[in-house]
């Protein structure tokens, strides 16, 4: 691995850029998806390290001949199903098509044939004197197979931005820019439209859906966010079509602070229910907010992720960075939240102590087993050597995708083509002292 790192140091190809990171429900597995349509699954070893378990090509580039559109193979989202049996199932999606994959192990194969001898040569037919059924199962090297079980296609006119599995374990939703569809995991030929924001006249279009997620326990509740900075909670019990929301989470914007960029930066890029189901974490361009489901008019907590960028919005707009979609995550006990930033920085906020930390995921600072040092961005003059000035931040290095182990203090951070896995050395230091668990990894296709 270390060698690969050197080889590909500065010129990795776009297909290797990680576009989705997700832990399985138990945390034993971690899946990443990349722009090349590949999915890599890591398994946690007894010692705690995550090693590659299976790699497979989930999506291929396609061409929609009716609309003359290229369909990228990039994996937009990965979601694990609750474990059903010894095999593992996950949903992966690109812009248009959702696929259900089964990852299973096989460690023996049947042997002893009637028509072939031990070496696989055909036997002389006249020598067959008896029938051999042979329940001879010989052990073989562990083979991890990924097999495609279902393809859910042709239900989205726009790009799919999220998928989420319902707590009833029977259905899931898929959301695109304007609609949310509800699927049964067993049925691929139909889905039900449950939210439709498409106006009669597309010129009246005022908002798009950015992300949607089911409540972790209540099978009838789902949340979706929009480009206008609002998050809506829908109750599927009240109507078949959930166009009318049950709750609308929106913070009034001070008109004095309004600017050209107000709406763009308020667009919600990610929504996550807390594990308890009580709170919603939303991420917009500059901040992360925690909402209590019982209070719609303002968030209970607001965390500035990189407020120092407020003066740089014009530059960020010109480079399109302002449209970056940062994801966010809760830790297992809902006490800490995490989200990404620029310059390969990611931020963590302890909700009780209100302490926050900026950490960096980069090959230069991340030595194996080394403890991560907090970083600081300063607006004016440097106070310490380790400080970094706003003007020297690298906006091409961004951490969009992050994931937190469902119970342990283990986090996975995707920085372009590298996946970093950090683990808390002292579990009582909730996520503040992290050490790198393994060297930076490249999401390269295995040599063939």
């Amino acid at each position: 691995m270390a060698k690969l790192v050197d080889q590909h140091d500065h010129h990795y190809c776009t297909a290797d850029v990680i576009s989705a990171v997700e832990f399985s429900q138990s945390g034993e597995f971690l899946a990443t998806g990349d722009k090349g349509g590949r999915v890599v699954i890591f398994q946690r070893e007894p010692q705690g390290e995550y090693n590659v378990y299976s790699t497979f090509q989930s999506h291929e580039p396609e061409f929609d001949y009716l609309k003359s559109l290229e369909i990228e193979e990039k994996i937009n989202k990965i979601r694990w199903l609750p474990q059903l049996n010894s095999a593992h199932f996950l949903l992966t999606t690109n812009d248009k098509t959702i696929k259900l994959w089964k990852v299973s192990e096989r460690d023996k194969r049947p042997e002893g044939y009637n028509l072939k001898d031990e070496e696989g040569r055909m036997k002389d037919i006249s020598k067959i004197t008896s029938l051999q059924v042979s329940p001879v199962l010989r052990p073989m090297d562990l083979l991890v197979e990924a097999s495609l079980r279902r393809v859910f296609a042709n239900a989205h006119a726009y790009h799919i931005n999220s998928i989420s599995i319902n707590s009833d374990c029977e259905t899931y939703l898929s959301a695109d820019d304007l609609r949310i569809n509800l699927w049964n995991l067993d049925i691929t030929d139909r889905s039900f439209n449950i939210v439709d924001l498409k106006p009669e006249n597309m010129e009246e279009l005022s908002e798009v859906i950015t992300v949607s997620e089911f409540h972790p326990h209540h099978c009838h509740l789902l949340a979706f966010s929009s480009s206008t900075g609002t998050t809506r909670l829908c109750d599927m019990r009240s109507r078949a079509l959930c166009d009318q929301h049950a709750k609308l989470f929106e913070e009034a914007v001070d008109p004095a602070n309004r600017s050209f960029f107000s709406e763009i930066v308020s667009s919600v890029s990610d929504v996550k229910f807390s594990h308890s189901g009580r709170y919603l974490l939303t991420r917009d361009y500059l901040s992360a907010k925690v909402w209590d489901l019982n209070m719609e008019n303002k968030p209970v907590e607001t965390y500035q992720v990189h407020d120092y960028l407020r003066s740089k919005l014009c530059t960020l707009y010109e480079s399109d960075c302002i449209f970056d979609k940062f994801e966010c995550a809760w830790n297992g006990t809902d006490s800490v939240i995490m989200t990404g930033a620029y310059n390969n920085f990611f931020r963590m906020f302890d909700r009780a102590s209100r302490r926050d930390v900026t950490l960096e995921a980069s090959r230069e600072v991340c030595k194996r087993r080394a403890v991560l040092r907090p970083r600081r961005v300063c607006v004016g003059r440097k106070k310490r050597d380790s400080d970094i000035s706003v003007d020297s931040l690298d906006f091409r290095k961004k951490i969009l995708h992050t994931a937190w182990h469902p119970t342990d203090n283990i986090i996975a951070i995707a920085a372009s083509n590298n996946l970093y896995i950090f683990q808390d050395r002292h579990s009582h230091h909730a996520g503040h002292h992290l050490e790198q668990d393994r060297p930076p990894q490249l999401q390269d296709a295995p040599a063939q």
Binding site: T129, L131, V133, P135, C169, H218, R237, R239, A240
Partner: protein, 589 residues
């Protein structure tokens, strides 16, 4: 089994056995489908000791192979040596009942249910019941869901101690952590209740039913509604009020529309199960609420049940209930905002006329029919038209014909071809109801217009429609009204229309009989053999083949044969082909 020199008859079986583990799924599938052949060749003993263990060990296959295997094993009793050995089939089926694919599990459960009847009471307790218990306490939800479907088949045939255990297992599954298992238990609750002694229905089932009906997941609650029907049927009338009705009332007003939908969908069954008194007191107001529900899906499901519900009302108070309670709701539904609701209502509303009689129909229902005939949604109008026969019996169709005609004309010219297709299909029915005079006057021209529709499916349906009309009105009518128009199209500049003439002739010749066919149709067909379009010419050949049997042999020899011979020498290969085919079919060579 085989001699020292080898046995040729073993070869095909050897191939099948080897293909059970072939890399190619299709070959494995083929082989699994011939599993009974393999078992026959191996004999019962080797099937038990070798084949079944092998199958049990290799269950990691593709779904379709597993599905075929699960199905096969349900019919395997004789192949393992009869009922005495049927328990040998349990291990592979047990594994199949735990796989993640629902269809495979369901099939395995179906086969297990089937072979459970072939177990002796002793074997059932020694082999089958332990399997049910293992499944019921399995680690993965897949095995526990499968167990739910097996309780009812073994319960009636085991001792009372085992019965108590089975009830306990079922209770556990009803409160399982995973919603999938609770759903499986809820869906089998009614079935299980049926095999239980009445005292346990009252003590066990009712509490499980109440718990499932108030589950936090609406996907579980809605399944309890289904169980409600079976449970209500089992209980004596006097217990229904206390044991079932509180839960049913709660379900009819559930917060989740899906549960209310289920109540609406099962309303007729519920009505029959609870009997006339409870229907009068409870179900009538509940039904009114469902008809006024805020969710269109629920209203549509309830609207679908209007006729059945009214029919099953107790006779003594039927008319009063309909007139005072149901009809006002129905009137509102006629102008519902949702077209599915209106069209669901339109598909049953005509049925009310037979229940309410002539006077009520004219006074109260007719205005509703007329309103629906003018509805903006074509499906609503179609549904009214498709059920005209019910009204015709009660008040005669003349009452409606004034409004009917514009509705039909509008549908006949609808921009969507599927709508036009649907109305064509009702033409024979309408013709029968309205009579030949009215038909000639108003509808005949429509039927002719469809023959030149620009959509082939419409032209085809129109052709078929003509046949049915001729069957209804007779050959003479055909000769005077249809045939001249059809034959006139033979000179149409559009070759598609000329071909329609041929298609019509194909369809009509038999119904019109020999005389009309020979005198009027045949000359036109023969003349068209000179058409410049090859498609028309080969359709002439096909037509001649089709109408040949109607013609007499002189005519065939003298008129048809020369034309077919000419076509058989046509420069177009298709024309030649069909001409030769006609010659041989008609035995003219």
């Amino acid at each position: 089994m085989a001699g020292a020199d080898g046995d040729d008859s073993l070869y095909p079986i050897a191939v099948l056995i080897d293909e059970l583990r072939n890399e190619d799924v299709q070959l494995r599938l083929n082989s699994i489908k011939k599993l009974s052949t393999i078992a026959l060749a191996l004999g019962v003993e080797r099937t038990r000791t070798e084949l079944l263990p092998f199958l049990t060990d290799t269950i990691y296959d593709e779904d379709e192979v597993l599905l075929a295997l699960a199905e096969q094993l349900g019919n395997f009793t004789m192949l393992v040596g009869g009922p005495e050995y049927v328990h040998c089939l349990l291990p592979p089926l047990e594994s199949l009942a735990t796989v993640e694919e629902t269809v495979v599990r369901d099939k395995a459960v179906e086969s297990l249910r089937k072979i459970s009847h072939e177990h002796s009471p002793v074997d059932l307790e020694v082999h089958f019941e332990p399997l049910v218990k293992r499944l019921a306490s399995g680690d993965w939800f897949t095995s526990r869901t499968s167990a739910c479907g097996l309780f009812s088949v073994c319960y009636p045939r085991v001792s009372s101690t085992v019965k108590a255990e089975i009830r306990q297992h079922f209770r556990n599954l009803c409160s399982d952590d995973t919603p999938m298992v609770r759903r499986a238990a809820a869906s089998k609750l009614g079935e299980f209740a049926k095999v239980l002694e009445l005292e346990y229905v009252k003590s066990d089932i009712i509490s499980l039913f109440t718990a499932l009906a108030s589950d936090e997941q609406d996907s579980v609650r809605l399944l309890a509604v289904e169980a409600c029907v079976s449970i209500a049927t089992l209980l004596p009338q006097e217990d229904l009020e206390t044991l079932v009705m509180p839960t049913l009332r709660q379900a009819a007003e559930d917060k989740s529309w899906r549960v209310r939908y289920m109540v609406a969908d099962k309303f007729s069954e519920l009505q029959k199960a609870v009997g006339p008194e409870i229907t009068k007191n409870d179900l009538v107001p509940a039904f009114q609420n469902l008809l006024k529900d805020c969710e269109a899906e629920v209203r549509a499901a309830a609207a679908n049940k209007v006729k059945e519900f009214c029919e099953n009302l107790p006779e003594d108070s039927r008319e009063t209930i309909i007139m005072t309670h149901i009809l006002p709701c129905v009137k509102e539904l006629v102008s519902d905002t949702n077209q599915h609701v209106k069209s669901a209502l339109a598909s049953v509303i005509m049925g009310l006329s037979t229940i309410l009689g002539k006077d009520n129909t004219i006074e109260h229902l007719l205005p509703l029919f007329l309103a629906q005939l003018k509805d903006e949604c074509p499906e609503v109008r179609l549904n009214i038209i498709s059920n005209l026969d019910c009204v015709n019996e009660v008040i005669g169709i003349r009452q409606l014909s004034q409004s009917l005609l514009p509705a039909i004309v509008e549908l006949a010219e609808d921009a969507k071809w599927r709508v036009r297709l649907a109305i064509i299909e009702y033409m024979p029915l309408l013709a029968g109801q309205l009579g030949v005079e009215f038909f000639d006057e108003k509808l005949n021209s429509l039927c002719m217009a469809w023959l030149v529709d620009h959509v082939y499916a419409i032209r085809e349906a129109a052709t078929c429609n003509l046949t049915k009309l001729v069957e209804k009105f007779g050959a003479e009518w055909a000769q005077n009204t249809i045939v001249p128009k059809v034959l006139g199209m033979a000179n149409d500049p559009n070759y598609l229309h000329r071909m329609t003439t041929l298609f019509c002739i194909n369809a009509l010749s038999e119904a019109c009989g020999q005389e009309i066919t020979t005198k009027h149709m045949l000359p036109v067909v023969l003349k068209m053999s000179n058409d410049q379009v090859a498609n028309v010419r080969f359709n002439v050949a096909k037509s001649l083949q089709k109408i040949g049997p109607v013609l007499d042999s002189n005519c065939l020899q003298a008129e048809v044969k020369p034309v077919l011979e000419k076509l058989a020498a046509d420069q177009d290969i298709d024309v030649k082909y069909f001409a030769q085919e006609a010659v041989s079919v008609l035995a003219l060579a």
